[in-house]
Each structure stands twice: as structure tokens, then as C-alpha cells.
Assembly symmetry: C2
């Protein structure tokens, strides 16, 4: 099995790299998948939102078949949600996937190809209203949502909570335990300031 990670200019780095570590590295370490790779429209260097430069392993043309794909968010999603080449690739390829996952504003790309129609979904707190305005989506203010074969997480770092929940749900708690232990994903949970008092705070933070 193969796990694809979509890349495009101005993607948010941690949206991609948190799940890349847990899902890509972790599932390959455990022998669940045989390949994790970065796929982009072309072979050109991708410049991420905070300036990191990465090289795709495959272009849309050379990309092998895959069972899973993760779509990160970031400012770049505004342009990519209108990129018919990218949307066509995803629409065609996701039809054969066992699961499709998005982080942050990556959910807008899933929305554009119809994968969120009538489904629960979420996104970064700064884009929740925009996702509601898209229409036909039940927007939930949790760390992540799972509706059928579609998983969506809240902003940036929430992709890691989603990744482990997806691993637990799909491959079992033993595998989730091993990957969480290896990566020491036991955050201390310190909250700085009073974000729950922010008008824009997502529901899960106010609860």
C-alpha cells in the first residue's frame, strides 16, 4: 500500500509534516505501507508558506497508484481550489482511495471535488465560517472529523491528532501505540494565555 501527500506552493509546513511523520514514516516503519511520497503537479521545487523548499517525489504524470492521500492546508489552497489540473487529478485518483484526509484549509480542496457533500468536516478556526458558506457541509468545531472514508482536521497542528486517530481506527490501537511512542507524541498540554476567550476560538477550545 502507498500513502500520497499532496504538495503545492504556499502549503503550511506543519500541516504536511506532522502527518508525514506519523502516517508516512510511522506506517512505513510498522510495515503497513511500503511507500510514502510527496506528489505535486510538476517536478518543480515547492516553496511552502513559511519558506521551506521541498522536492516532490512524483508529478501528477509519474505518480503511481495509492490507497491513501493527505491534502495539507495553507494560503496556497485559495489558488489550488481553482486549479483544474490539480482538482482533476484528485477527483480521479481519490475515487480509488480507501481514505482521503485533509488538514486545515485542505478541506476546501476536498469540498471543491465534492467529497464533503452532505458530510461532517472541519478546518482552521479562521476559515470555519468560509467553509459553512461553501454550503452542503456539516461543519464541526472539533480537532478532527471522520465521516465515511473522509477525515478532516482543524488547523495546522491538529493534523497530528487526526493522524493518530486515523491510525487507531484503521490499523488498530497497537499500531497507534507504537507510532505515538516512537514519535513521543505526548504533548504536555500547556495553554499559553486565554485563547478560549478569543471570539474566534473554535468550539473544542471553549468547551
Amino acid at each position: 500500500m502507498k500513502f500520497a501527500f499532496l504538495a503545492f506552493n504556499d502549503l503550511e509546513e506543519l500541516d504536511l509534516m506532522g502527518p508525514w511523520e506519523l502516517l508516512g514514516g510511522g506506517l512505513k516503519n510498522e510495515g503497513i505501507i511500503d511507500e510514502a511520497f510527496i506528489v505535486a503537479e510538476s517536478d518543480a521545487v515547492i516553496t511552502c508558506a513559511k519558506g521551506l523548499q521541498i522536492l516532490p517525489h512524483y508529478s501528477f504524470e509519474t505518480c503511481p497508484e495509492f490507497e491513501y492521500i493527505l491534502i495539507p492546508g495553507g494560503w496556497g489552497t485559495r489558488a489550488e481550489a481553482k486549479n483544474s489540473v490539480l482538482l482533476d487529478f484528485l477527483k480521479t485518483r481519490s475515487a480509488n482511495c480507501k481514505a482521503v484526509l485533509s488538514v486545515c484549509t485542505g478541506s476546501f480542496i476536498l469540498a471543491e471535488i465534492g467529497l464533503l457533500k452532505g458530510k461532517q468536516a472541519t478546518t482552521h478556526w479562521g476559515s470555519l465560517d468560509r467553509l459553512r458558506e461553501f454550503g452542503g457541509i456539516e461543519v464541526i468545531e472539533e480537532r478532527y472529523t471522520n465521516d465515511g472514508e473522509v477525515w478532516c482536521s482543524a488547523g495546522i497542528s491538529a493534523g497530528m491528532d487526526m493522524a493518530l486517530a486515523f491510525i487507531n481506527d484503521t490499523f488498530g490501537e497497537d499500531i497507534a501505540e507504537k507510532i505515538q511512542f516512537y514519535t513521543e507524541y505526548y504533548p504536555q498540554g500547556t495553554v499559553y494565555g486565554k485563547p478560549e476567550e478569543n471570539d474566534q476560538a473554535p468550539g473544542y477550545l471553549k468547551a
Copy 2:
């Protein structure tokens, strides 16, 4: 002010990318630093431990002055801890830094250049004994340590807890609050399985 992030082959992706998002992206967004960049021995493509390919912004030769530097861990640290070109660069440049931070086994590189002598430090749970055997270091089993201008975190994802603690300590809670809110770093804290029963579990997990 500038924040450098050291890169080398077989670095562990999330070791670098968690802090890159919070410290690099976050501090630049808040106007605290004017540049965050990846620096490596040469301009060549870096292949990380889980296969991600990244391009450095600067080589050791072209690298501008910087106030802060973060050293990630990963299997590559075993080779780099013996790489005199890298150690010379770090030793010379870190002398002018306001703070030096390591994630995971990045602490072995700090140990090699003498920065951990007589100091508290930590590393990935799988390398705690090895760091004790290095000698002259007070190895602590916490998410992160801070001793003077040196910060060390436990494995992989622990770099994010360290990054926010460093921001809070150095630039204040308002800045830490803003960066944590933007990146939605409010992990749900789910623990899969019973890692605390593992003989190799670090102290902070057993407590």
C-alpha cells in the same frame, strides 16, 4: 534577528518541522525575527530520515549571522556528530548566539561541541542511556530542559512543547499565546495503549 535551522541527511522530519512552524513561521509572523532559514553544509538536496527532500537556503559558506539556531535529531546525528566541518561551523557560530536549541538526538551534536558540559539536557527515550554515557551531562527525563542559553527536547514531537516554552520564556506569554492560537497547538492528549508500562518509557510518561 535571524533564526537558523540546521539540516543534514537523515534528520528526522518532525524534529525540524514542528519548531520550524512555531519558531520560524511563528516568530516571523509576529515580527520578532526577520528571517528563518535552513542551513546545511552544502547547497545539495537533503534527504531526511523518512524520505522527505528539502533544499537548504544557505550553505555554511553563504550563511548570514544569526541569533538563534535549532539542531534536529534523527539517525543522521550519528554521522554528523563526527563531521568536523559541521561541528566547527556550529562551535564558531553558536558562540555568538542568544540561544541554541536541540530536538531529540540533536543533543548529541551539542554535546560534541561542549555546549552540554555540566548542564541539564535530554533526548529521545531510546538514547537517554547513550547521552548519560557521554559523561558530564545531567540527563533529565522531561519533555524539555533549559539550562542557561541551551534548550533540549525529548524525541521528535517534543520539540514543539520546547518551542512554545522557549517563546514564552524569551518573548513573553502574549507572543506564545498568539503563535499557539494560530497553529492550533492544543493537542487533545489521547494516549493510545499503555506506553507508561514500557520499560523504555521516559520518566515524564511514567509520572
